[in-house]
């Protein structure tokens, strides 16, 4: 930049691009509208996964984390979230409370709302098999993964006064097969929901 005029032109373009991404709610690196922890919905209760380091180190029912070559923090997300068909946070917030213009460009240029068709658990089984080089017809392929985890539910009145001493603990098991992903709670096994209607999530 050899003149102030060219520097100002550059700055105008620079801020148009970086701050334009904020208006358009772009969150694709290296641009962001800085949503990070911004998405929050008040509910009647707070349900969180209660981890268990030893269990996580043992890994999925058949394969250990270090066998897969996945860093611990990423493996936690695979075990706690993807196995239970929960996507990354950006999928939950990307299309939440969008104004019409931004919804239009997202659905035209990026694709459908990721919240409406969730196949995170299925993708996990595909990734594990492909990591070991097992194709869809390979007889050595892994046909079932399981992840077991406790979930703690804190009722809102307790949370509001800071009483975290009496959550309801429920053991859930994610069962991922080629026929779909299932959730075992108590003594019952139910398919994990994949498809959602927009009305149900907004």
């Amino acid at each position: 930049m050899d003149s102030k005029k060219s520097a100002k032109r550059f700055l105008a373009l620079y801020f148009l691009i970086f701050f334009g991404a904020i208006f358009l709610r772009v969150d694709y690196f290296p641009f962001s509208w800085v949503p990070m922890y911004g998405y929050h919905v008040n509910g009647p209760a707070v349900t969180v996964a209660v981890g268990h380091l030893g269990q996580r180190e043992r890994g999925f029912a058949a394969w250990r984390a270090d066998d897969l070559g996945v860093p611990a923090a990423n493996f936690r997300r695979l075990y706690h979230q993807r196995a239970f068909n929960q996507g990354p946070p950006q999928d939950d917030r990307e299309r939440a409370a969008l104004m019409p213009f931004n919804r239009w460009w997202y659905e035209t240029l990026v694709g459908p709302d990721p919240r409406l068709d969730r196949r995170y658990a299925d993708q996990l089984l595909v990734s594990v098999n492909q990591t070991f080089g097992y194709g869809p017809r390979d007889p050595r392929r892994i046909v079932r993964l399981e992840a077991e985890l406790d979930f703690a539910t804190f009722e809102h009145p307790d949370v509001a006064v800071g009483n975290l001493s009496r959550p309801t603990i429920e053991r859930r098991t994610a069962i991922i097969t080629e026929q779909g992903a299932f959730l075992r709670k108590g003594g019952t096994v139910t398919p994990m929901p994949r498809r959602f209607e927009r009305d149900a999530i907004e």
Partner: protein
């Protein structure tokens, strides 16, 4: 052109071009580059915590540019090589040797390492976004013309103060507004629900504290401080209100010239990042190194060198 337009233009000129002296940009580059080497090692450390010659994990969700390039598998040893090159590039950038190529190498290295880290499970982190924006400004500025090896060896002519000032001011705007946009995003997505009662902060405190489980005696394994705080909703609400005020008013720092006032504001921001780390394990704790862009680091450097020279001469006299 009427007088009002002239006055408005001169205000823009004063804001961008009349703030720092000529040597400031090169000195900021030096300290920023050193900090960047540490920051990136912290950010991408997890890519290096797996067996370099172990399994090639097939990403569950490659980041968008990996998808475009057809990169769907992690080859672990590449991360080790890229991290070494990235660190070297940061040091070359800091020292002002092959500065512009080093910036391009850093950007490519960040894209690769971030791509790997975020593609395992598909969570896209935001910790490299401001870094990229600042590196673009270094790239298009004359940051290599002073305070560096090439500048000294090639006897490059010094730059004008305005050439040093505008990139630094643009960096400051980006950094300051990053906080402000984060507040706008909270309000766009969640409204005041984010702050109501314990709000989002209490929810994150609980989920982060229990994610590694409990000890046999009933204590959380990690983040016990966050667990304790989650049980004090009034205090959590107070911190939420502080976050609101901090993010709302932080851009005012752009109007402050006094380095002491800026230091106070930036210490506040640093406390914010450290608290997020110790309470919720949010990995922005070394991010405050970017605040060197707010100061005349040339004056700081001269002061630091003066102190070191004084210490050496005292030691020499004593011996």
């Amino acid at each position: 052109m009427n007088s009002e337009t002239i006055s408005r233009r001169s205000l823009v000129d004063r804001f961008f071009f009349d703030w720092h002296d000529a040597a400031a940009l090169g000195a900021v580059r030096f300290y920023f580059g050193l900090g960047l080497a540490i920051y990136l090692n912290i950010q991408f450390d997890q890519n290096l915590k797996i067996d370099a010659f172990g399994a090639h994990f097939h990403f569950t969700r490659p980041i968008w540019y990996f998808s475009l390039l057809g990169i769907d598998t992690n080859v672990p040893w590449i991360s080790f090589a890229v991290m070494a090159l990235l660190t070297i590039a940061c040091l070359l950038f800091a020292l002002g040797k092959w500065t512009k190529p080093a910036i391009i190498a850093i950007i490519i290295g960040i894209f690769y390492m971030k791509g790997v880290r975020d593609s395992f499970s598909g969570d896209v982190h935001h910790r490299e976004i401001p870094i990229f924006a600042l590196l673009i400004l270094f790239l298009f500025s004359k940051c290599d013309r002073m305070f560096g090896i090439d500048a000294r060896k090639k006897k490059l002519p010094p730059i004008e103060p305005w050439e040093s000032s505008w990139p630094l001011r643009a960096m400051q705007i980006y950094i300051a507004l990053f906080y402000f946009w984060a507040l706008v995003a909270k309000l766009r997505l969640s409204g005041l629900d984010w702050f109501t009662g314990g709000g989002r902060i209490q929810h994150v405190l609980i989920s982060r504290a229990v994610r590694d489980g409990f000890t046999p005696t009933g204590e959380v394994v990690n983040l016990s401080l966050g667990w304790e705080l989650a049980q004090m909703p009034n205090l959590v609400w107070f911190f939420g209100a502080m976050v609101f005020l901090f993010e709302l008013f932080f851009p005012l720092i752009l109007l402050v010239r006094d380095w002491r006032l800026k230091l106070i504001a930036l210490i506040g921001a640093t406390v914010f990042h450290l608290a997020n780390y110790f309470l919720m394990n949010v990995q922005f704790f070394f991010y405050p190194f970017v605040f060197v862009t707010f100061f005349n680091m040339n004056l700081f450097h001269e002061w630091l060198m003066g102190k070191l020279r004084l210490r050496r001469s005292v030691a020499a006299v004593a011996t």
